[in-house]
């Protein structure tokens, strides 16, 4: 190749870099990150936020999640029978976490939410030296810690107990009704001398349940 052509191209290239070197104040395109921060656009998909008071605990977000990283536990129901739980709309939540070792920030969880209460916010620098610390508790906006786990464990038990109680209550009611019926039937049976069918068929749990995950 022509040596002068090469030389000319080299000089052209060096001219460009020199131009940048001399105008470096004008051409500067970086910022000093921790002190200056770039504008985060409104649609930025960062760390999740949850407006707990709106949540209806429908599991739509955890269902749509392609990597299944949203964990929800709690009790459904308008009165919120779980003491110490986080009150949502028609639900009391004990756990609503996102595991950021798994999350891929696709934003699919935002869309199906009926009250639009879960959204990905502008925060992106979630960091930790420990993998177990990468789970965020959306109810408190903090890291999901062991004490949270203790509460969730307790709530799980409490939930079971409440359901059990409810069931028992219902059963008792049913039994009472059945007994009443039986009594009535017995009263009738006395006439017909037939045994009353004592059936306390179990009714499915109506609206409360434990988070599937």
């Amino acid at each position: 190749m022509n040596i002068f052509k090469v030389a000319r191209s080299i000089v052209t290239g060096m001219g460009i870099t020199l131009k940048y070197f001399l105008n470096h104040k004008k051409t500067l395109c970086t910022i000093q990150y921790p002190r200056e921060k770039d504008l985060i656009p409104a649609r930025h998909r960062g760390i999740h936020y949850l407006e707990t008071e709106k949540c209806v605990m429908c599991w739509k977000c955890s269902d749509i999640c392609p990597v299944d990283c949203i964990y929800i536990e709690g009790v459904r129901g308008a009165d919120g029978p779980l003491p110490g739980g986080y009150r949502g709309q028609k639900a009391t939540l004990s756990k609503f976490t996102v595991d950021y070792t798994v999350c891929i920030f696709c934003g699919l969880c935002e869309e199906p939410c009926p009250p639009k209460c879960i959204w990905l916010g502008p925060e992106f620098d979630y960091h930790s030296t420990d993998r177990t610390m990468m789970e965020k508790n959306l109810l408190t906006d903090e890291v999901y810690t062991e004490s949270d786990e203790v509460f969730v464990e307790w709530a799980r038990g409490e939930n079971d107990r409440l359901q059990e109680e409810k069931k028992k209550k219902k059963e008792a009611e049913k039994a009472a009704k059945a007994a009443e019926k039986a009594a009535a039937a017995a009263a009738e049976a006395e006439k017909t001398t037939e045994e009353a069918p004592a059936d306390a068929g179990e009714q499915g749990p109506d609206s409360e349940g434990e988070a599937a995950e």
Binding site: I3, I10, M14, L18, F21, H24, T27, L28, T30
Partner: protein, 457 residues
């Protein structure tokens, strides 16, 4: 050592120096006690003299083990130049280190500004201390030697590389009279000792027991051995024109008060630099600069450490201080080739303006006389020395900047292209320049481009 003894020792020494200085005056004191750093007398360094005087006067106290041996071998009688040596080594080593720190910082800044970035900004103002912090980090890093490496070679290779570069600083002037040792065969020494560095690199690459390092080693060997030829021819041409191997002589022929063949004195200006001595010198300077880029493994000839091919090549396996030594050596070599270029072609410490050059030289120019009147002769002498140092360093630093500029602009050449550039472009070009310069000197009777022949003062 006992602290009390030490303080007394220092106190006595200080007192003694003070007495001597009062007795003789600072200039004479320095002149007396420094041979190496003081050729002209007035520009000598006080410190050099002081240390030398200390070594000559004081002996190691008896309670120190082996004191008799030390006094016998290193004492004033057997080794009278120890003080000067220590100072010289200290100065050169210190300069290399400080230069490397500054050069790494400025390389980062230069590259950053060329790339629309800011570069280091955190440690110190504008990140000035970043390199120091990095150096400290390297010092505290674990020294890893691969299990299958040749441990001895691996350990000494960085030292060999660094020594190879540092030794080349010996005949290199930093300014008028500021020279570790003005060797008669200075240029020859520079060229010859350069081979030690190649040896060290080969040792490092081979001992690492890493195939990539081995590639780098072979590349280094081919590259540095090849490129020594155009560099050697550039040296030979300058030596032929100037008639001396000494770097000081070469510089002295490019500025200041010049003496021609007839013994007539001329004022030296910028156009008396070797660069403009004849048209061939200009081409030769360019070939020397390109070859010197290859010699110190800088882009576009950074094949031995090509990070996208060999992943830093021969020092892949090195960590910590051993790696830092390679790093220091690289930057020291950068300065070295630039300084040699300044000596050979760019008039050394001569600023190119006759009046400025003559400050403190004892000649009677208007500027010098005026300064004499304002500052007095001693300060003018010191000022003259400082200006020359400054001029020399500025020229060298500009060349170093060009090296960086080239690195941050150009892609890397391939091995065969590198050899092509050396053997088919630079070698013929420099040979033509050699022959051309010889013919020019013959035709003009030793006269330079501007009409008069210059002989060594």
């Amino acid at each position: 050592m006992n602290l009390a003894v030490f303080t007394t020792f220092l106190g006595q020494a200080g007192q003694a120096i003070e007495e001597k200085v009062i007795e003789k005056g600072i200039v004479d004191f320095a002149a007396d006690y420094s041979t190496k750093w003081d050729g002209g007398g007035e520009g000598g360094l006080f410190l050099a003299g002081a240390v030398r005087w200390l070594v000559e006067t004081y002996t190691v106290p008896d309670w120190v083990p082996l004191s008799s041996v030390i006094n016998g071998t290193l004492g004033a009688e057997t080794f009278p130049e120890l003080g000067g040596l220590l100072i010289t080594i200290g100065m050169v080593f210190g300069f290399v280190n400080i230069f490397a720190i500054g050069a790494v910082w400025s390389e980062r800044k230069v590259s950053a500004h060329m790339q629309c970035r800011l570069g280091p900004m955190e440690v110190g103002p504008h990140g000035l201390l970043q390199t120091v912090a990095d150096g400290l980090k390297l010092l505290t890093k674990e020294d890893i030697i691969p299990r299958l490496a040749d441990k001895t070679l691996f350990a000494i290779a960085p030292a060999v590389v660094f020594a190879g570069v540092l030794m080349r600083f010996v005949p290199l002037p930093f300014g008028d009279q500021l020279i570790a040792s003005d060797l008669d065969l200075g240029l020859f020494f520079v060229a010859a000792v350069g081979a030690v560095e190649v040896l060290g690199v080969i040792m490092a690459g081979w001992a690492s027991n890493n195939k990539w390092s081995l590639f780098a080693t072979i590349r280094t060997a081919t590259q540095m051995v090849s490129y020594e030829i155009p560099i050697g021819i550039a040296f030979v041409t300058v030596i032929l024109c100037c008639g001396s191997f000494s770097l000081v002589d070469v510089v002295n022929m490019q500025g200041g008060t010049l003496t021609d063949i007839d013994g007539e004195a001329h004022n030296g200006w910028a156009w008396h630099w070797n660069l403009f001595r004849n048209p061939f010198m200009l081409i030769l300077a360019i070939t020397y600069f390109i070859a010197s880029l290859a010699e110190c493994k800088r882009a576009p000839f950074d094949l031995p450490e090509a990070e996208s091919e060999l992943v830093s090549g021969f020092h892949t396996e090195y960590t910590g201080m051993r790696f830092a030594l390679f790093f220091l050596a690289e930057y020291a070599a950068m300065y070295l080739v630039a300084a040699v270029a300044v000596v050979l072609f760019l008039g050394g410490w001569w600023s190119g303006i006759y009046w400025v050059d003559e400050i403190g030289m004892g000649t009677d120019t208007w500027l010098a006389s005026w300064l004499d009147g304002v500052l007095g002769p001693t300060l003018t002498a010191v000022l003259g020395v400082l200006i020359k140092v400054k001029v020399f360093l500025t020229k060298a630093f500009i060349l170093v900047f060009i090296q960086m500029w080239v690195r941050w602009t150009l892609p890397r050449v391939r091995l065969d292209q590198m050899m092509y550039v050396c053997w088919k472009v630079l070698l013929p070009a420099s040979l033509v320049c050699l022959i051309g310069s010889c013919l020019w000197e013959l035709a003009t009777g030793g006269a330079s481009f501007f009409g008069f022949g210059i002989v060594v003062k």
